[in-house]
């Protein structure tokens, strides 16, 4: 068989495999979320039902809405702040010749390798002493630090492509540095800023260990924690409701990803390739 033919076969089988590989867990999550009873595989009959969804939305004791709210709040506070902080740093690093110029990016990069467990123990004690356990602050502050490598790398890579002569022109035109950053650099770097916001937002939803240890109840617990603690009234895991909750959270995230996939991919790949 010619190489071409072999190639086509591989492509076909490969695509099907990839498709099934990715889709199967998702598909299964959806199937179970809409089923009345999960025993349909072992002899029962599959019954389509919305009851799981209704339960998780309305049941107060499950606190799904609270978890969602908390995740949204924390993610929405963290993203813009970390982007702003990182913009200032990225600006200085790419445009001003100062001593820390090379060290700081390396330092920030190395953080993305640190194990969370090595950080969270001490944070727990510290937050505990401050009385901040189970508050938004307890999550936002560590998240700012934890997601900063992501934001910084995206911005660094984009900022370094903006010609420095624009800064010179603006300085001569009488703008001060912060003004240059906000009026000239950031508007020109808006794709990177958008990527950064999205990636940080999604990362906040995804984070688990910090949230697990630094919160104690639905007042501040995020979706990740909620899903991990999910238990039925009698201790057995209510799979239907759990999957409904999962899909409930997953669906908007996937939608967000699809809508902004261009930015997300840009952000992820420049971040990684540059590193």
């Amino acid at each position: 068989m010619s190489e071409r033919r072999i190639k086509s076969i591989f492509i076909a089988t490969g695509s099907i495999f990839l498709f099934l590989f990715i889709i199967t867990p998702i598909f299964w999550m959806i199937v179970i979320s809409f089923s009345k009873d999960i025993t349909f595989l072992t002899g029962g009959v599959y019954q389509f039902s919305l009851s799981n969804y209704i339960t998780i939305i309305t049941s107060k004791s499950l606190h799904m809405i609270d978890y969602l709210k908390n995740s949204l709040v924390v993610a929405s506070i963290t993203s813009p702040i970390v982007l702003i902080i990182s913009s200032f740093s990225a600006y200085a690093i790419t445009r001003i010749n100062f001593a820390g110029r090379r060290i700081i990016p390396l330092l920030v990069l190395s953080i993305s390798i640190f194990p969370q467990i090595s950080i969270v123990g001490y944070l727990y004690r510290w937050m505990g002493n401050l009385g901040w356990i189970n508050s938004y602050v307890a999550l936002v502050l560590p998240y700012l630090a934890w997601t900063s490598p992501l934001a910084l790398w995206i911005l660094l890579s984009y900022f370094s492509q903006i010609p420095k002569e624009l800064d010179s022109a603006a300085l001569i035109d009488g703008a001060k540095r912060p003004k240059i950053l906000f009026r000239i650099i950031l508007p020109l770097a808006s794709p990177a800023v958008l990527s950064g916001l999205l990636l940080v937002f999604i990362a906040c939803f995804n984070e688990f260990l910090f949230a697990l240890m630094l919160t104690s109840d639905y007042g501040a617990q995020t979706v990740s924690v909620g899903i991990s603690l999910f238990q039925g009234l009698h201790g057995e895991i209510p799979w239907g409701e759990l999957m409904a909750a999962s899909f409930f959270v997953t669906f908007p995230l996937i939608l967000l990803t699809f809508l902004f996939q261009k930015f997300i991919i840009e952000g992820l790949t420049t971040g990684a390739i540059k590193g």
Binding site: F21, W126, W146, W239
Partner: protein
């Protein structure tokens, strides 16, 4: 040269200070703190006491620690190898033009976008002994009897690996795809003209040119696997009976059983291991200056 310390430099330091401060306070200080705490005995009802290396010595004699370490390393080896092989395969696939390629490429983002915890739960129900999809398929296709995936150490290991591979391969594939696309098409044309078949082209052109992206991806993925927590905690809880405890999970369990000192010790060792591995990689493969 004395005027060097003038406006520009001061502004630069002001600009980077929020970031540096936040990182210092919420990452560097905690790690330092964990390190220090590892030299203390810190359990309930007793005052905190400095004990030097005692925690470390206890840990070295504790088989749980070595089991966790072994498990973590094997898990990392298995997971990263599979991810890489699959990742390269998917990347090669997606490099080609064919109908539906765009959709597939977008779908790559799905596992990445889902919180790890949720994916762990999904796999949990798939692996479920009685109601799980996997056992159902095995029985339906008459391949084998029901397997207690999460109930035996051997199968739990592979269950975790599969779940991890599912979550992380797409990301790997994406990075590698970008790396592949950076290789000029002309080189392949030249190679084809020179008579190189696919395997040859792959090993002599693709892999070498992909090396930088591959190395970076490997460093991050290895570090991620070594420090893995979320997936393991939710999917197996470290069970059955601690058989799938990774070092992060071990540290966590010490913390939650209020043995703070030991928790700190395990946590700090985890840090050293992950950091050490990364430095090793960099040394071995000489990452070029940024």
């Amino acid at each position: 040269m004395k005027i060097k310390c003038h406006r520009r430099t001061i502004i630069a330091y002001i600009f980077v200070s929020p970031l540096v401060l936040i990182i210092f306070l919420f990452i560097l200080v905690p790690i330092l703190g964990t390190c220090i705490n590892s030299f203390f005995q810190d359990i309930p009802y007793l005052p905190k006491k400095f004990v030097g290396m005692r925690n470390y010595l206890i840990l070295i004699k504790n088989p749980d620690f070595w089991d966790a370490l072994k498990f973590t390393i094997f898990f990392t080896l298995a997971s990263v190898s599979l991810e890489t092989i699959l990742g390269i395969s998917f990347a090669l696939l997606l490099k080609e033009r064919f109908p539906g390629r765009g959709i597939l490429r977008t779908m790559l983002l799905i596992p990445w976008a889902i919180p790890t915890v949720i994916s762990a739960r999904i796999w949990q129900i798939i692996y479920n002994y009685n109601y799980g999809l996997l056992n159902y398929i095995l029985q339906y296709l008459k391949i084998s009897d029901k397997i207690n995936w999460l109930g035996t150490p051997q199968s739990a290991f592979w269950a975790l690996v599969l779940a991890d591979v599912w979550k992380t391969t797409p990301f790997m594939a994406l990075i590698l795809l970008t790396g592949l696309q950076a290789i000029p098409e002309d080189i392949y044309k030249q190679a084809k003209v020179d008579g190189a078949r696919f395997i040859k082209r792959f090993f002599f052109i693709t892999l070498p040119l992909l090396r930088p992206a591959l190395i970076v991806a490997l460093i991050f993925r290895t570090a991620d696997s070594l420090r893995i927590f979320d997936l393991v905690y939710v999917l197996t809880g470290g069970g059955p009976a601690g058989a799938t405890r990774t070092i992060s999970v071990l540290g966590f369990q010490y913390y939650t059983s209020a043995d703070f000192g030991m928790g700190a010790t395990v946590s700090f060792i985890t840090f050293l291991i992950v950091f050490g591995f990364s430095l090793l990689y960099i040394k071995l493969w000489g990452v070029r200056k940024l």
